[in-house]
């Protein structure tokens, strides 16, 4: 048995009625996990692009990929674990800013550090938009916790393979400046 790992699976599907439930139904029917999922139309409006974050050992992931390919409406499936890739997620976060004096300034500082954006404010709250990889998202949530997070809405992760980075198996990925920057920021 190989170890259980996280995988990002990119699925190109026909942009048709019911496709999402076919894909989601396959995961539930076969007992595969979906940790996050995002769907949107592709550049060509006749297709949709899905990114599914899942986990499993090599054997399970091989079956996931094959079963997805078997769905008639699925055009292409890529397991990004075979590539070096970047993943991002966007969060909308509403935090309290009036529990203690200075909270509003603290919130503002965190926004700066993480290059988040304030998209709405009220006398007692700020609402941020922040985009980043998993580490950055985890970090900002940790920083904001003491203020009191009222609500978090997440898009789910999307991922893209790096240009010319087709790697055979488990080769270490070359650090990408942009990726590392956001990662090490705080």
């Amino acid at each position: 048995m190989s170890e259980v790992r996280k995988h990002f699976v990119q699925i190109l599907v026909e942009n048709r009625f019911g496709v999402l439930s076919r894909v989601a139904g396959l995961f539930s029917a076969r007992g595969f996990n979906i940790d996050s999922l995002s769907v949107a139309p592709g550049l060509d409006p006749s297709v949709s692009q899905m990114t599914i974050e899942t986990q499993g050992d090599d054997h399970v992931v091989e079956q996931i990929i094959k079963q997805l390919n078997k769905l008639i409406d699925v055009i292409k499936v890529v397991d990004l674990a075979e590539f070096s890739f970047l993943s991002r997620e966007t969060l909308l976060i509403r935090v309290n800013t009036n529990s203690r004096p200075g909270d509003r300034d603290e919130a503002f500082r965190i926004v700066e550090i993480f290059r988040a954006k304030i998209i709405d404010s009220s006398p007692t709250t700020y609402t941020f938009e922040v985009t980043g990889d998993e580490d950055k998202i985890e970090a900002i949530l940790n920083f904001l916790k003491p203020l009191g997070i009222k609500e978090v809405i997440r898009t789910g992760k999307v991922a893209i393979a790096r240009e010319d980075q087709r790697l055979s198996g488990k080769n270490a990925s070359r650090p990408h400046p942009e990726g590392e920057l956001t990662l090490n920021r705080p």
């Binding site: 009625f17 439930s21 076919r22 139904g25 396959l26 091989e62 094959k66 008639i72 409406d73 699925v74």
Partner: protein, 581 residues
């Protein structure tokens, strides 16, 4: 000229060379039935239940290697097809099932006889379509047939709303299909085929394990050629019976839970396992960790998900079994330089023959009580195998698989994957429709038969000469056997002695009923029943406590076969293993 959706459907079916539709009418599909009334070139076989219509279409399809077509109404008509769809999906049977649907504007409103059949059937069809525009209809039908019969075959459902059934439009049937997201692989990879040929040539103890994929791909000639060329001992799955003639000297019988000693021993000791069109089902492998432990595995299958789903594979070859076997035979001829190259299999062949002699399939004939196996043997002798046989699910199914020799493909109809009681009799009806001149026999149990008994009305009204053989053991026998072995003989809900009088039942429907209660009546009953023209039901009252042997207790290793009742009365360890009856 503009025609209605209903007429388009019929035109399209004719373009697909369809001649028979199994179905049942109702509200929203009345316009289609009305169009059928006016069009004698499509024959409707009215079953008495929609589930039976699907099984009949399965029997039709499997016995003739074509696509079976079903037409039913919305709501309950559609939901009644689900068991049949799941059955066809498991056993890879090509079907196109058309369900009526409430008008497009009413979908989702809990309209009268609305059911979300698209949602419900998603996981038990190969694909399904909701027709949303009349202009899509011809393409959808074309694609449905293409998807059903190509690649790994399976059922496709088309949900057809009433407003579109009625709407009129110009009709253009597409000549060709191209689905960018669906392109089954046909040709096997040359390099992999070479590797397979080399492995076979180098092996000392090869075994062929072939199944339903041989039947689907029509590869029986190629399989026979391979077996003959290299003299390789061969076993077939339940779904593969008939893929190699049952009387071929290298045929070791079925493998698996109720397989033969020789087949299971050979699989256990082989060094190169040549798996073709099989899916390593748990009834075949038993305890997977101990299945074929020392072999290099070659697996030929058109469906990549079958490969490495349950079992490791060393040489996977994705593609059509027939095409790949042809190439493999050619490759073997080329690199071996003649049949002498396979001489070194001789000791192995001798070993497998030895195993066959050690534990042949057997039962104890009895003068006082009819043994079910005896009835099957006698039917085989009487027909010489020149017939189509269907079964239901249970002990009678296993005995038929063991004691009837299937000589040709497409003559054996059984529900393997889902194990659907109630499959057999309607499947025989479908087969009889496809082969009007052929003898079609439905071998069933008194339990299973009652699950689609209403179809007696179908055979009588259509005067179909199906011969029904009920092996009445007064029990849900397969369940009783498990209760005997693993539940301390506590026959909870498995005794069904209060069956109807089957002879009278047949007569009530207008068929002939015959009964045999003693061994000496068996041959006469068969002779009498089979020489009559129309539908005949023959009830054989057989030994209630006969068991199916050999048996690999569920979850056990395949070489732990038992040949008699284990006698350990209550065995939670065995009974609570992952598999159930």
């Amino acid at each position: 000229m503009k025609i209605s959706g209903a007429e388009m459907l019929l035109e399209s079916l004719k373009r697909e060379k369809i001649t028979h539709i199994f179905g049942y009418p109702g509200g929203v599909v009345l316009p289609i039935f009305d169009a059928l009334y006016k069009d004698p070139s499509l024959q409707v076989i009215l079953t008495r239940h929609e589930q039976a219509a699907v099984h009949a279409a399965e029997g039709y399809a499997r016995s003739s290697n074509t696509v079976g077509v079903v037409l039913v109404t919305s709501g309950p008509g559609a939901t009644n097809t689900l068991t049949g769809l799941a059955d066809a999906n498991m056993d890879s049977v090509p079907l196109v099932v058309i369900t009526g649907q409430v008008p497009t504007k009413m979908i989702g409103n809990d309209a009268f006889q609305e059911a979300d059949i698209i949602g419900m059937s998603r996981s038990c069809t190969k694909h399904n379509f909701l027709v949303r525009k009349i202009s899509d209809l011809p393409r959808i039908i074309k694609e449905a047939f293409y998807i059903a019969r190509t690649g790994r075959p399976g059922p496709v459902l088309i949900d057809f709303p009433k407003d579109i059934i009625l709407e009129k439009a110009e009709f253009h049937y597409p000549e060709t299909v191209s689905i960018r997201s669906y392109n089954p692989t046909i040709q096997g990879n040359r390099w992999q085929i070479r590797k397979a040929a080399q492995a076979i040539l180098k092996s000392r103890k090869p075994v062929i394990y072939a199944g339903g994929g041989i039947i689907s791909s029509n590869a029986h000639k190629e399989l026979l050629e391979l077996v003959n060329l290299a003299n390789i001992p061969t076993t077939l799955t339940l779904m593969g019976l008939g893929a190699l003639p049952g009387d071929h000297p290298r045929f070791m019988g079925m493998l698996g839970m109720h397989g033969t000693y020789a087949a299971n021993m050979a699989i256990h000791h082989t060094d190169v396992l040549i798996a073709v069109g099989v899916r390593f089902d748990d009834r075949v492998t038993g305890k997977i960790a101990e299945f074929s432990p020392n072999s290099k595995v070659i697996h030929i299958d058109i469906d990549p998900t079958s490969i490495r789903k349950n079992f490791h594979v060393d040489v996977p070859i994705v593609g059509d079994a027939r095409v790949i076997l042809k190439d493999l035979i050619e490759e073997l001829r080329e690199i071996s330089g003649g049949e002498d190259a396979f001489r070194h299999f001789q000791p192995w062949v001798a070993q497998t023959s030895e195993w066959e002699k050690e534990h042949p399939l057997k039962y104890a004939y009895d003068k006082e009580i009819i043994k079910p196996q005896y009835v099957i043997e006698k039917i085989y002798q009487f027909t010489q195998g020149d017939c189509i046989v269907s079964t239901d699910v249970g002990q009678h199914q296993m005995w038929t698989a063991q004691f009837f020799k299937f000589i040709r493909p497409n003559t054996w109809l059984t529900s393997g994957g889902l194990g659907t009681m109630g499959y057999g009799f309607p499947a025989a009806i479908g087969a009889q429709k496809a082969h009007p001149g052929k003898r079609v026999i439905s071998i069933t149990g008194e339990g299973s038969f009652l699950m689609n008994v209403q179809e007696l009305a179908t055979v009588v009204s259509l005067d179909l000469p199906v011969k029904i053989v009920i092996l009445n053991n007064q029990y849900l026998g397969m369940v009783r056997q498990w209760q005997e072995f693993f539940y301390g003989s506590r026959y909870s809900s498995s005794f069904i002695g209060q069956s109807p009088d089957f002879v009278k039942l047949a007569e009530a429907f207008g068929a002939v009923g015959l009964r045999a209660t003693r061994p000496e009546q068996v041959e006469d009953t068969i002779l009498d029943g089979f020489s009559r023209r129309g539908p005949v039901l023959m009830e054989f009252q057989v030994d209630p406590e006969e068991n199916v042997f050999p048996m690999v207790p569920a979850g056990g290793s395949n070489i732990e076969m038992i040949f008699e009742s284990p006698g350990e009365k209550d065995d939670p360890k065995k009974r609570d293993s992952i598999l159930t009856a």
